[in-house]
């Protein structure tokens, strides 16, 4: 509130935007929305947190059975690798899938309040990160119990998570902004995460990628992120990204992809933000 007697100057009304409206309000809202959603996920049902573990565990058990009993992978510590990969990939999967409909789904606040629009997809990513944090604890406990680690290199895992979160954010911004005008994006993105799941070396170790498909290593940043996580957490002797790709571009190219995706995502979102409330 401005001090009484000291008239405030007339300021032009700037209209809605992706980022404007004050840093404090931006952070407060992002955090509050993230935590609220997180709480609703866990306290909405009777078993709360348990449910959030059951589905990934069942998925893990099924895949594990398929790839050790039917298709016989003899990769060392395959169970641990599969569990870690599934958990990390779930951040990308969960966040981007929810982000698609997030702006439209939050219609009630978008149409009635002024706030930096980017808060919405960001809070989706942060909620997914909070989930990931909980799940990673369970994964690391599992690894310890089964005799893999703990290891000092585990402390570097947050770096991988940061890289994953940045890429996820870029994609989330892009799809959430596009969905406002092109509702087909929801279906297309559903297919895309399915394809990416198989194209990201989640189910299989990176060495299994045949030479003819090595290009995936350069265009899909999820592969190097998962591979580095594998080396840090499960198997230090696994090939590094550079070894697997055969050149230093194995790290440079995916980094460029991440930067480009984030730039396009941000640009698209910032452009769409002022009109979002009208186009819902």
């Amino acid at each position: 509130m401005t001090a009484a007697g000291q008239p405030a100057a007339l300021q032009p009304v700037r209209g809605p935007s992706a980022l404007g409206g004050g840093a404090r309000r931006f952070f407060t809202l992002t955090w509050l929305l993230s935590v609220t959603e997180f709480k609703l996920n866990y306290f909405g049902t009777i078993f709360g947190y348990l449910w959030s573990l059951v589905l990934p565990l069942v998925r893990f058990a099924v895949l594990y059975a398929v790839f050790t009993r039917i298709i016989r992978f003899d990769t060392p510590n395959y169970a641990q690798l599969l569990l870690l990969n599934l958990t990390l990939y779930s951040l990308f999967n969960e966040a981007t899938t929810r982000a698609v409909r997030s702006v439209v789904g939050n219609e009630n606040i978008v149409r009635k309040t002024q706030f930096p629009r980017i808060v919405i997809p960001l809070s989706v990513v942060i909620t997914a990160l909070l989930n990931l944090g909980l799940n990673l604890i369970a994964v690391l406990v599992f690894l310890t119990v089964t005799g893999v680690g703990p290891n000092v290199t585990w402390l570097a895992l947050p770096l991988i998570v940061v890289g994953l979160a940045v890429f996820t954010t870029g994609v989330s911004l892009l799809v959430s902004a596009l969905f406002v005008r092109f509702r087909d994006v929801a279906q297309m993105w559903g297919l895309m995460v399915l394809v990416l799941f198989y194209a990201s070396a989640v189910l299989y170790p990176v060495e299994f990628i045949p030479p003819g498909m090595r290009f995936l290593l350069f265009v899909n940043p999820l592969i190097p992120l998962l591979e580095e996580a594998r080396r840090l957490v499960v198997d230090p002797s696994a090939p590094s990204v550079v070894d697997a790709a055969g050149s230093v571009f194995g790290i440079i190219a995916p980094a460029i992809v991440v930067i480009v995706v984030c730039a396009i995502g941000l640009w698209t979102f910032v452009r769409a933000a002022p009109r979002v409330a009208e186009e819902l």
Partner: protein, 378 residues
């Protein structure tokens, strides 16, 4: 269809050439029919929509939302919702928590603090939302249609709270359909009709004009339609209108201002002792009154014209009304021509219960206490 074909939009120009000023500390009312652009205007001011053209300038902190209870989640408790909604209103989480007790006390919801909002009645949720809003620190508050909040005693509290905010020098923009609250709360009002400012000025004038537009469509015009008996009839109602005592033709009258009906009858054939009558109904078709047909003692020859004038007292409550009229002949009830409706008109004034205000007097007399009652009190 191409996957990237965007959803088709039709351009709706919600506001055009709107210009107005609100002074600091003013309580401004915005009236207008549904779809006239009132909410769009608030959304532009609040930076929810972006104006295609034009300039908006605001001095001071503007509350960032235009509706009560934005961000409320029915799966959360009152406590959590106050925090969410408060932050949406521009408070810090600390401020929202600090004011929680005051908010709950004002909303009279002390017993329901830990109850999830989905178990609240809609009135309770609105009370909570209103209570958060009045705790806002913003210099300028915008409120879209809230005075229907809760029961009568809470509505009174809301009115008092608006007075308090107004007294603190806050600027308030209130969108409302209640002309009563417009007149009692606002210092200044604008009327928006089809995206333009139709009137900018005194709330009483805006309220009258709003009722006039709202109740009769575009302004008050006597209805031109005539169901008449057609070409072969012996005569016709050539003209029909309503006027006031000064002889001005009008479609709207103040409460208690008498209404003059004028009908011009034209005979095409000989009409024996023509009679003219009218009937008054409410807008929803309930017949309120029918005047006995007024006979003319002699008969009319072809080409004769007669003017009937009726002066009608107007105890009608503000609202819209319909007049039907009929010409008959033969000294009886053989209809010759009729108009249904002959005219629509509006009565302006302070809203009242019921349709007609009758004259009345009170006599209240207290009975002396009997000794039996005294004994019962002991």
């Amino acid at each position: 269809m191409h996957p990237f074909t965007p959803i088709e939009y039709t351009t709706l120009r919600a506001l055009r050439g709107v210009s107005f000023r609100v002074a600091k500390g003013e309580f401004m009312g915005i009236a207008g029919r549904n779809g006239s652009g009132k909410t769009t205007l608030l959304k532009l001011l609040a930076s929810i929509y972006r104006a295609d053209r034009g300039r908006l300038r605001v001095a001071g902190a503007l509350a960032p939302l235009i509706e009560l209870g934005v961000g409320f989640n029915t799966n959360l408790t009152a406590r959590e919702n106050v925090l969410l909604n408060g932050v949406m209103m521009g408070m810090t989480p600390r401020e929202a928590r600090g004011r929680f007790d005051k908010i709950i006390e004002f909303a009279e919801l002390e017993e329901f603090v830990e109850m999830k909002l989905k178990n609240y009645s809609s009135g309770m949720a609105m009370r909570l939302a209103f209570s958060v809003m009045v705790q806002s620190d913003a210099d300028i508050l915008m409120v879209d249609e809230v005075l229907a909040v809760g029961d009568a005693s809470f509505a009174q509290k809301c009115g008092d709270e608006f007075d308090r905010l107004h007294g603190e020098g806050r600027t308030i923009l209130l969108v409302t359909h209640s002309m009563e609250s417009l007149r009692s709360l606002c210092d200044h009002a604008i009327l928006i009709e089809d995206g333009v400012v139709e009137l900018d000025g005194d709330p009483a004038d805006v309220a009258s004009r709003y009722l006039e537009i709202n109740l009769t469509g575009r302004g008050a015009t006597p209805a031109a339609s005539a169901d008449g008996a057609g070409e072969g009839a012996a005569g016709r109602i050539a003209e029909f209108w309503l006027e006031n005592s000064e002889g001005e033709r009008l479609g709207g009258f103040n409460h208690r201002e008498s209404i003059h009906l004028v009908a011009v009858i034209e005979a095409k054939q000989e009409i024996d002792r023509p009679r003219f009558g009218f009937q008054l109904s409410s807008a929803n078709g309930v017949s309120l009154f029918a005047a006995p047909h007024q006979p003319l003692a002699d008969s009319l020859a072809p080409g004769d014209r007669v003017t009937f004038r009726a002066t009608v007292a107007n105890p009608l409550a503000p609202g819209t009304y319909v007049i039907n009229c009929r010409l008959s002949g033969g000294g009886a009830t053989v209809p010759i021509d009729w108009r249904r409706p002959a005219a629509n008109f509006v009565v302006w004034g302070r809203p009242r219960f019921g349709t007609i205000e009758l004259d009345w007097t009170w006599e209240v007399e207290r009975q002396p206490r009997t000794s039996a009652m005294e004994a019962a009190r002991e």
